[in-house]
Amino acid sequence: MAVEKMSIAKALNESLRLALDNDPKVLIMGEDVGKLGGVFRITDGLQKDFGEDRVIDTPLAESGIVGTAIGLALRGYRPIVEIQFDGFVFPAYDQIVTQLAKMHARALGKIKLPVVVRIPYGGGIGAVEHHSESPEALFAHVAGLKVVSPSNASDAYWMMQQAVQSDDPIIFFEPKRRYWDKGEVDTESIPGPLHKAVTVREGSDLTLVAYGPMVKVCVEAAAAAQEEGKSIEVLDLRSMSPIDFDAVQRSAEKTGRVVVVHEAPVFYGSGAEIAARITERCFYHLEAPVLRVGGYHVPYPPARLEDEYLPGLDRVLDAVDRSLAF
C-alpha cells in the first residue's frame, strides 16, 4: 500500500505525470500548461520533466486545441487537452460535438479517438463571468462522448488514469473549487471501473445523488440530517455519461426517496434525466417524487450572488425535508 494524502490538484498532477511516464504517445496540450503549469497549476512541472514536445503550450484558440488533438489522435497519439475554464470550451464545442464525438462511428469503428478534454468547472471561487459554469449536460447529451467528474483526490488520480487509457473521447470535468481539498490516495490499488457510481455514505431514509463539487455538500447535508435522526444515503455518480442507473435504482428502491443535486441549472439538467429514469425503473418503490436541487435558469451570476445560486447545505436539507414530507 502506498497511501498518500494529497489535494485533488496534486492528485491530478501526479496522475498526469504517471500517464506521461507510462506511454510515450500521451501528450498534454493547452493554453499555459507548460512553464506556468496551467492557471490552476494542474500541469505544474510536467513540461520541465517531459519537454515541450510532450507538454505543449498552444496558441490561444480552443477549437484549434481540440481540432489538432483530433489530428494527433488519428496519428496514434493520446492527447490530454486542457480547456482553461468551463465557459471557454464553447469555441471548441463544434470540434468536440461534430468531430470528436462522431468520428469513430463515421469510420464504422475503424479509427479511435482517445482524447481527454479536461475542463475545470463549476463555481464557488469568486470568479468573473464565464469562469464558473457547469455545462456537463451539454456534453452528456452528445452520443459518442463520455463525461466524468471526480469528487475526491483518489478518484481524481485514478479516473484520470482510466480516462487516458480509454479509446473513447472523455470530457473530464474537474471540480475547481475542490482542487485544494485533500484526501487519501492509494497509488497502488486500482479502484472500480470509470463509469460506476459509488455509495459514499449509507442511509435508509433518502438518497442524495450528486457528482463532482456537490458530493461534499451532500455528505455534509447527510451528516447534518443525521443529527435530526434522518438516515441519508449519498451516491457519487462519478460518471454523467453513461450514468450507472443500476446503482441509482438500487439506492432508490432501498430508500424510496431521491434528491438529485448539481450546480448546473435544473432545467434540462442531468437531474431531469436521472429523475425520469428512476420513475421509469422503480415507480412503485417511490415514496415521493424525485426532487432536484441545482442552479436557476439564469446566466451564472456575479460572484457576490453565487452563494444564492449554488446549492448549499440549507437548500439540500430543505429538499430532503420536502421529500420526507410526502
Binding site: 484558440a61 489538432t68 489530428g71 496519428r75 461534430t98 469513430h104 463515421r106 475503424k110 463520455k146
Partner: protein
C-alpha cells in the same frame, strides 16, 4: 424602434448596394502559375517546371476523364433517386488530379466532401464514396487503408485535423506530408484561420490546398474575402501561391513543390487553385438563380480536360485508339458504379447501435436491448397472424 433604425429599415442597406456594384477583388488576370494554357499550349514558369513522359500525361488525362465520368454517373444516380444528394466536382478535375497525383503513398489526405478525384488518386474505390450520399453510412471507409480521411461536411473542420496529424508526423520524425483540402467558403471559417496559426507556430508539414471554385453555394468569393486568398498565408508566415486550378500540370507541379517543402521541414504552404465549379454546389441547389450563364460559358473555355486533350493531340502524345479505349473504360466504370449503388443494401437496423463507442457504453447496451425486443415483437405478431 428608434427613428434612425426605422429609416434604416426603409432605405436599402448600403451593404447590399455595395454588393451589386462590387468588383471582384481579384484582378481579371490573376497571378496564376500556369504550365498549360486553355488552348493546350505548354508554357514555362520560372519557379515551377515539370517534365512528364507521354505515358504520365496520358495517365493524368485518364484520371480526369474517369473522375468526370464517375461524377456524371453519381449526378445521374441522384436524379434517379438512388442517391439522396451529390456534390459534383465538375470543372475541378485538374485541381484534384494534379494535387492528388503529387502525393506519395505515405502522405495523408484530409478532404472535404467533394474530393472524388483525390480519392481516385488514393486508390479509394469510387463506389465507397457513395455510401454517405445514399444514406447507408457517414463515410464508412477505413481512412488508414489509403491514408485518405473521411469526408468532412462541417466546413473547414478538417484543416485542424490535418494540422494535428502533421504535428504528429513531425513528432514521429517521418518525412511524409499532409494535405488539407477546403474551399473558398471555408477560408472564412475560424478553424481554417486557427489551422494556419497552429501549422505556422509548430512548423507542421501540411499543405493547405484551397480549391477556389468561385462560389460557396450562392455566395461569391468576394463575400468571403477582400484580398486574393493565397495572400492570406503571408500574414501567418508561410508562402501562398495561386495556381491555375484548371491546369493539371501546374497543379501537380505546385503541389509537389509544396509537399517537398513540407518534407524538408520548412512548414506549411497555402496553395490556392483558381478554378470553377461548373455545376451546382450540390444537387439540391440551382446555380441559375445566383450566377450568370456567361460566367459558366467563360469557364467552359478553360475546361481542364479539353485543354489537356488539345495538348495530347497537337503534340501527338496520344492516338485515337487511346481515346477510344478510354471511352470504353469510362462506360465500364459508369456501369460498375450504377450497379454497385443499386446493389448497396440498407444497413441492418441493429447497426444503429454499432460503433458509437470504442469501449462500449452501458446506456447504449440498454437501448440496444430495448430496440431488439421491440423489433422482435413484430416477428411475434407476424407469427400469430399465420
Amino acid at each position: 424602434m428608434t427613428v434612425e433604425s426605422t429609416a434604416a429599415a426603409r432605405k436599402p442597406r448600403r451593404a447590399s448596394k455595395r454588393t451589386s456594384a462590387a468588383k471582384k477583388p481579384q484582378s481579371a488576370e490573376p497571378q496564376l502559375v500556369q504550365l498549360l494554357t486553355p488552348e493546350g499550349e505548354r508554357v514555362e514558369h520560372p519557379d515551377y517546371s515539370i517534365d512528364l513522359s507521354a505515358d504520365e500525361l496520358r495517365g493524368l488525362y485518364r484520371d480526369m476523364v474517369l473522375t468526370r465520368r464517375f461524377d456524371a454517373e453519381a449526378t445521374a444516380l441522384q436524379r434517379q433517386g438512388e442517391l439522396g444528394l451529390w456534390a459534383s466536382l465538375l470543372g475541378q478535375e485538374a485541381a484534384q488530379i494534379g494535387s492528388g497525383r503529387a502525393l506519395r503513398d505515405d502522405d495523408y489526405v484530409f478532404p472535404t466532401y467533394r474530393e472524388h478525384g483525390v480519392a481516385w488518386c488514393r486508390g479509394v474505390d469510387p463506389t465507397n464514396l457513395l455510401g454517405m450520399f445514399r444514406g447507408v453510412n457517414h463515410g464508412g471507409w477505413d481512412p488508414n487503408s489509403n491514408n485518405f480521411h473521411l469526408y468532412t461536411i462541417v466546413i473547414g473542420s478538417q484543416t485542424l485535423h490535418a494540422t494535428g496529424y502533421a504535428m504528429g508526423v513531425a513528432k514521429d520524425g517521418a518525412d511524409s506530408a499532409v494535405i488539407a483540402y477546403f474551399g473558398d467558403g471555408a477560408s472564412s471559417q475560424g478553424d481554417v484561420a486557427e489551422s494556419f496559426t497552429f501549422s505556422a507556430v509548430y512548423n507542421a508539414p501540411v499543405v493547405f490546398f484551397c480549391q477556389n471554385n468561385q462560389w460557396a453555394i450562392s455566395e461569391p468569393t468576394e463575400r468571403q474575402t477582400r484580398v486574393p486568398l493565397y495572400q492570406r498565408a503571408q500574414g501567418y508566415g508561410f508562402p501562398g501561391v495561386r495556381v491555375d486550378g484548371n491546369d493539371v500540370l501546374a497543379c501537380l507541379a505546385v503541389t509537389r513543390s509544396a509537399l517537398e517543402r513540407a518534407r524538408r521541414g520548412e512548414g506549411p504552404t497555402l496553395v490556392e487553385a483558381f478554378t470553377y465549379r461548373m455545376g451546382a454546389h450540390t444537387t439540391s441547389d440551382d446555380p441559375t438563380k445566383y450566377r450568370a450563364d456567361e460566367e459558366r460559358a467563360a469557364w467552359e473555355a478553360k475546361d481542364p480536360i479539353l485543354r489537356l486533350r488539345a495538348y495530347l493531340e497537337k503534340d501527338k502524345l496520344a492516338d485515337e485508339a487511346f481515346f477510344t479505349a478510354l471511352d470504353e473504360e469510362s462506360e465500364t466504370l459508369g456501369k460498375r458504379v450504377r450497379e454497385a449503388v443499386r446493389a448497396m443494401p440498407d444497413p441492418d437496423p441493429m447497426a444503429l447501435f454499432e460503433h458509437g463507442y470504442a469501449d462500449g457504453n452501458s446506456l447504449v447496451d440498454e437501448e440496444r436491448a430495448q430496440f431488439a425486443a421491440y423489433q422482435a415483437s413484430f416477428a411475434d405478431s407476424a407469427e400469430e397472424g399465420k
